[in-house]
């Protein structure tokens, strides 16, 4: 049984990957949103490089957070609408494990591209080279948390017709700690101070979210169906 659960986990990941790869908009649209939203700031604030350098970590973090939030619905929405999610709950495999697989896939298709793209946007916003490494590291620790916490929000609102606005209301407050430490780590590092504290805290937030969030998500899905 244990082995077959692992197989189910793998099959779940394979299925979601294949679906995401065939449906380009699922992973591409959040990325384009990320680029466009980031490029709005220099237009709105003005192109002075020292102003942009100062606020670049914050801009990139906030837009990454919004991009991740906008793609959240793809975790469960279409599966809920065609009844697939119901079948997953009824399946003999531990549902939490399948939820883990879905969240992991969501992070890989939306989080990792954001991390890979962030140096480009960092450079465009005149972020110094030291800052870019810190930014990528903070995104690497932070974006999985966004997917994990976000999955709870989607699971709670998936049964609603127009859950989009409500989703942001539920999820954004819970994102705030990640944003504070993520953008803070880059700021602190650029100021020449020790960043290990920020990264340790982000790591512990990640572990906490990783262990507990999928349980809450699975419970919320059971409620929503």
């Amino acid at each position: 049984m244990k082995n077959s659960s692992l197989n189910a986990f793998r099959a779940m990941m394979y299925r979601d990957f294949t679906l995401a790869m065939r449906n380009h908009s699922e992973w591409a649209n959040p990325l384009f949103f990320f680029i466009i939203a980031c490029s709005l700031f220099p237009l709105g604030i003005g192109p002075e490089s020292n102003t942009l350098e100062r606020i670049a970590p914050g801009i990139i973090w906030v837009t990454a957070l919004l991009a991740s939030m906008m793609s959240l619905e793809s975790i469960f929405r279409s599966d809920f609408e065609d009844g697939y999610l119901e079948q997953l709950v009824l399946s003999p495999y531990p549902f939490t494990l399948l939820v883990y697989a879905k969240i992991l896939v969501h992070w890989v298709i939306t989080g990792i591209p954001l991390i890979l793209l962030s140096p480009l946007l960092g450079a465009a916003l005149h972020l110094p080279t030291d800052g870019i490494g810190l930014l990528m590291l903070s995104l690497l620790l932070g974006t999985p948390v966004l997917s994990l916490i976000g999955s709870i929000g989607v699971a709670l609102t998936v049964g609603l017709k127009r859950g989009g606005m409500l989703l942001s209301l539920l999820v954004l407050p819970l994102y705030i700690p990640v944003l504070i430490f993520g953008a803070g780590a880059v700021d602190v590092g650029l100021g020449g101070l020790d960043v290990s504290g920020h990264f340790l805290l982000m790591g512990s937030i990640l572990i906490l979210a990783f262990t507990l969030a999928p349980l809450a998500t699975a419970a919320a899905i059971r409620v929503s169906i």
Partner: protein, 245 residues
């Protein structure tokens, strides 16, 4: 004892019991507020640095305490609902949300008013203020999630899960002033270390805190009773009560 508690979870028994309790609770609340407000605003000595403006702590600090306490009550009754599926705990959790949001709002507003003379600014993005603001958003999220889902049973369970997830914010608020060195002063009163406040200022604060607690219980019971009547409006006992009116 258990039998008594179990009997109380029925709407009808709870309504009767809380009806007997309410006048007492309301009376105690009024007396405590009268004593507490007079003592704290008139009798308590003037702070040598902040003059009279410090007196806002008697409104601000209990409101901030209650904002966290009410959230915990809400999350615990949500958890009780998820585990034992009791109807009453949903009603209590729902009654908590607007009260808690009001306390949080009051704490934020009085904090801003106090911040103006002492810090020279209405608002700073410091850890405690920000986490208290998140708490307000959590209350609002709870209420909007509950009202967005049409089916009552589903709404109750979904909102309970959200309330439990939000509990992570409570220790962050509580320890924010110890973990981060920020503008908001750290706690003057703690269970383990006792109080650094002078007794002449400490006791009125305690009375105000107790008054807030009694106020919360009174309003909570009243709101719970209203929702019980609304939910059970077609039940026999409510119909009979209506006839007697």
């Amino acid at each position: 004892m258990w039998k008594f508690i179990l009997q109380l979870t029925s709407f009808r028994n709870f309504y009767r019991f809380s009806g007997r309790l309410l006048p007492w609770l309301g009376g105690i609340t009024l007396v405590l507020f009268a004593i507490g407000l007079y003592w704290s605003l008139v009798v308590a000595p003037i702070d040598y640095q902040q003059k009279d403006s410090y007196r806002i702590i008697y409104i601000h600090v209990p409101a901030a305490w209650m904002s966290m306490f009410v959230y915990i009550v809400m999350a615990v009754s949500g958890a009780i609902h998820l585990i034992w599926k009791t109807k009453l705990s949903v009603v209590i959790a729902n009654a908590c949300a607007p009260i808690g949001a009001t306390f949080t709002f009051l704490a934020l507003v009085t904090g801003a008013i106090w911040g103006q003379p002492t810090w020279g600014t209405w608002w700073v993005w410091d850890a405690r203020l920000t986490s208290e603001l998140i708490l307000l958003f959590l209350y609002i999220g709870y209420m909007s999630l509950y009202s967005a889902i049409e089916d009552r049973a589903t709404a109750a369970r979904a909102a309970a899960i959200l309330a439990i997830v939000g509990v992570v914010n409570i220790p962050i608020i509580h320890y924010s002033v110890d973990w981060w060195f920020t503008l908001h002063q750290s706690a003057s009163i703690s269970v383990s270390k006792g109080s650094s406040l002078h007794p002449s200022m400490y006791w009125p604060l305690m009375i105000m805190a107790t008054a807030y607690k009694f106020y919360f219980v009174t309003v909570l019971l009243q709101r719970t009773r209203n929702e019980i009547l609304e939910r059970d409006q077609n039940a026999n006992w409510v119909q009979e009560m209506e006839k007697q009116l």
